[in-house]
C-alpha cells in the first residue's frame, strides 16, 4: 500500500470511480491530456478517452450547467473548477438548477463540483478563496471538506456515488502536505458523507474544525496537552450534511466550544456551528463559544499580508489557552 499525498488520493479516487462506474466522467478546463492544473485528473484521458475526460472551453457556468444536464440524463459528472475561486461564475447554475431540481420534481442530480480551495499558497485574492460559505446556506447541496489524504480519497468516492450535487472543497495547501497510506481500488474505503471524525479525544475543550485547520488544531492540542489541557478535535469532514450529534456530543462533554476555520470569520460556516452550539448545548457551556478564522478581508497576495490574513497555529493556541483558562 503506497503512501499517497492528498492530491494523489484524489486522483486515485477518480480513477477508481471511473473504473467502477462507466457513467462517471470528468470535465473542466485542461483536465484532459494535461490532467488539470494540479494533476488531479492525471492519466484519466489516457485511460478512459476523450469522451470521459473532456477539456472544456473556459466557461464555468457552462461547465456546471452541462454537468447538471448530464447528471440528469444518467451520467455521473465530476466537474473541475481550475481554482475554487472561479466557481463564483457557476454560482447561479449550482444554486438555481442543481440545488433545487430534486426538491421540485424528484429528479436527482448526481454530480460533483471539485473546487481547489484555500490559501497559504501565495495565490492572492483570486486563487485562494474558500468557497464553502458560498454554498452551505443553500438547501440541496452537499458540502465536503476533507482534511486528510484518507478522507480526500474516501469522501470523493462517496461524493461521486452520492445522488445529489456535491461541492467538493479540496484544499490546495494540503495537496502535497497531507500524506497517508491510502488503500485504493478493491481495498478502497468509502467515507460516508455526514459523519464527523473525532481526530483526537479530549476532555477540557472542543475544537470543531475542518480542512486545512485540522492539522493546526492537532498541533495546538499537542502543545496544550503538554500544558495539561486536554483538547478534543472534531474534524467535520462534511459541512452539509452536518454531523450535529458529533458536535453536540463533544461540546456537551467538554463544556467549551471553539470553532476554527480558514475561511473569513463573518458568515463563515463557524457561525452556523456556533449558533447550533449556543442553542442546543447552552446548558453545558462553561465559556463563550469562540471562533478563530481569517480576518474579514479579501485574501491578500504578498506573504506578510497573507500570513496576517490567515488563522495561524499561534492564533488558535492563544484562543484555546484563553478558553481553557476561562
Amino acid at each position: 500500500m503506497p503512501e499517497l499525498t492528498y492530491l494523489e488520493a484524489i486522483n486515485a479516487a477518480l480513477h477508481d470511480e471511473m473504473d467502477a462506474d462507466p457513467r462517471v466522467f470528468c470535465l473542466g478546463e485542461d483536465v484532459g491530456r494535461q490532467g488539470g492544473a494540479f494533476g488531479a485528473t492525471k492519466g484519466i484521458q489516457q485511460k478512459y478517452g476523450e469522451l470521459r475526460s473532456i477539456d472544456t472551453p473556459v466557461a464555468e457556468a457552462g461547465i456546471a450547467g452541462v454537468a447538471i444536464g448530464a447528471a440528469m440524463a444518467g451520467q455521473r459528472p465530476v466537474a473541475e473548477m481550475q481554482f475554487g475561486d472561479f466557481v463564483s461564475i457557476a454560482f447561479d447554475q449550482i444554486v438555481t438548477c442543481a440545488a433545487k431540481m430534486h426538491y421540485r420534481i424528484g429528479w436527482a442530480v448526481p454530480m460533483v463540483v471539485r473546487c481547489p480551495n484555500g490559501g497559504g499558497v501565495g495565490g492572492g485574492p483570486y486563487h485562494s478563496e474558500n468557497v464553502e460559505a458560498w454554498f452551505h446556506h443553500h438547501a440541496g447541496l452537499k458540502i465536503v471538506c476533507p482534511a486528510t489524504a484518507d478522507d480526500a480519497y474516501g469522501l470523493l468516492r462517496a461524493s461521486i456515488q452520492d445522488p445529489n450535487p456535491v461541492v467538493f472543497c479540496e484544499h490546495k495547501f494540503l495537496y502535497r502536505r497531507e500524506k497517508a497510506d491510502v488503500p485504493t481500488g478493491a481495498d478502497g474505503r468509502i467515507v460516508p458523507l455526514g459523519k464527523a471524525r473525532v481526530a483526537r479525544t479530549g476532555s477540557d475543550l472542543s475544537i470543531i474544525t475542518y480542512a486545512s485547520t485540522v492539522r493546526l488544531s492537532m498541533a495546538v492540542a499537542d502543545t496544550l496537552e503538554a500544558e495539561g489541557t486536554s483538547v478534543e478535535v472534531v474534524d467535520l469532514r462534511t459541512l452539509v450534511p452536518l454531523d450535529r450529534e458529533a458536535v453536540l456530543a463533544s461540546v456537551k462533554k467538554t463544556g467549551k466550544a471553539m470553532i476554527v476555520h480558514e475561511d473569513n470569520l463573518t458568515g463563515g460556516f463557524g457561525a452556523e456551528v456556533a449558533a447550533i452550539v449556543a442553542q442546543e448545548a447552552f446548558e453545558y457551556l462553561d465559556a463563550p463559544v469562540t471562533r478563530v478564522a481569517a480576518i474579514d478581508t479579501p485574501i491578500p497576495f504578498t506573504p506578510v499580508l497573507e500570513r496576517e490574513y490567515l488563522p495561524t497555529e499561534e492564533d488558535i493556541l492563544r484562543a484555546a489557552r484563553e478558553l481553557a483558562a476561562y
Binding site: F25, L51, R52, I54, T56, P57, A59, A61, G62, I63, A64, G65, V66, A67, I68, G69, A70, A71, M72, A73, G74, Q75, P77, D92, Q93, T96, C97, K100, M101, H102, Y103, R104, I105, G106, W107, A108, V109, P110, A139, G140, K142, P163, N164
Partner: protein, 343 residues
Amino acid sequence: MTSPARKISVVPDLPSVEVSDDLALDLYYWMTLTRAVEERALNLYRQGKLPGSYYTGRGQEAIAVGIALPLVRGEDGDWLSPWIRDLGSYLVHGVPVWRIFAQFMGKAGSTTRGKDGNLHIGGREWNIPCQVSHMADMIPLTVGAALAYKQRGEKRVAVTSFGDAATSRGDFHEGLNIAAVLEVPAVFVAENNGWGYSTPISKQTKVTDLHRKAAAYGIPAVSVDGNDVFAVYAALKASVDAAREGGGPQFVECKTYRMGGHAAHDKYESYMPMEVLAEWSDKDPIKRAEAILLEEREITEARLESIRERARDEVRQAVEQAEDDGYPDAAEAHQGVFAETAD
C-alpha cells in the same frame, strides 16, 4: 381518407420533410388543445383560482407544437426543455392535461407537487427537466443531456426553446459554444417574438435576426415563419434528424410576435403598437393551419370541428380532475431537498 404526404421545404439549407394528412391533423389537434387549455386557464386565473402569475403562449402554438412533435417521447426518448410560452410542447411530449391544471392551481397532482408553479413543469417520465425562471439557464443543461446521449452512443437528442431576450444571457453563449465544440446532438430553438417583457428586441440586441448569432459558434441555423406550424415542424424535424444522425448541434429561429402582455397582469397596451398586434392577429397559426387543411388538404370542416370538440372535452375533464385534486400536505414542504437515490 388522407391525401398523400406533402413535402415541406422551409429553407434551402434543410432537407424537405414529409407531412402526411394525419400528421397535419395531429399538429392541428395539439395547437387546438394548447389554446383551449390556455384560454380555460386564463379564465381560472381571472377568477382568482390560480396562484402566482399566469403566462400564455397565445399565437405561438405553432412553435410549441412544431418543436415537440418530431421528438421521441417517454423517459428513454428525447430531452425537451420548453420555454414558458410553450405549453403545447409539454402537452405533446406527454404531460397529462389535468396535471397541468393541477400545476397552475398548486395542487398535489402538479408535476412539482405544488412546489413550483406555472410552466415550471417537468418529470423524468417525460424526459422534461423542470425549467427554472432564470432565462437561458436550461441551455447548458440541455447541452449536458445531449452530451450524455453522445457518451453512451444513444441516438437521442436534447432540445430546448427560449425567447429572444434569453440570447442576451451568458449561459446562452456558453451553452451554444460548448455544444458546438463537443459536437453534441442538441437543438436550440429561439422564439423571436419581438419583445422581452416591455423591452423591444431592438434594445435587447443589434442583431435581431437571431439565427445570425449561431454563426458565432459555427452552428448551422435556419429561420422560419413561427406562425406556420408546418414550417416549424419541418425545420425541427430536419434539425432533430441531423442532430440525431451525428450532425452536431442545430439552431432554429422561429419568427413570431407576442400576442399580448408578458404575463396576464402586464398592461401591454401602454407599450405594444396595436396596429402591429392586429396585423399579427391575421397570421394566427391556428387560423392559418385551418385554411391550409380546408383549402389545400381538402379536409372537411366537420373533421376539424370534431378535433376541436375533442380538445374541449379533454380540457373539461382535466379541469374537473384538477379541481377535485387536493392540495399537498404541509409536510410536503419539508420533503425532497435531497435525493435518497439517483435512480
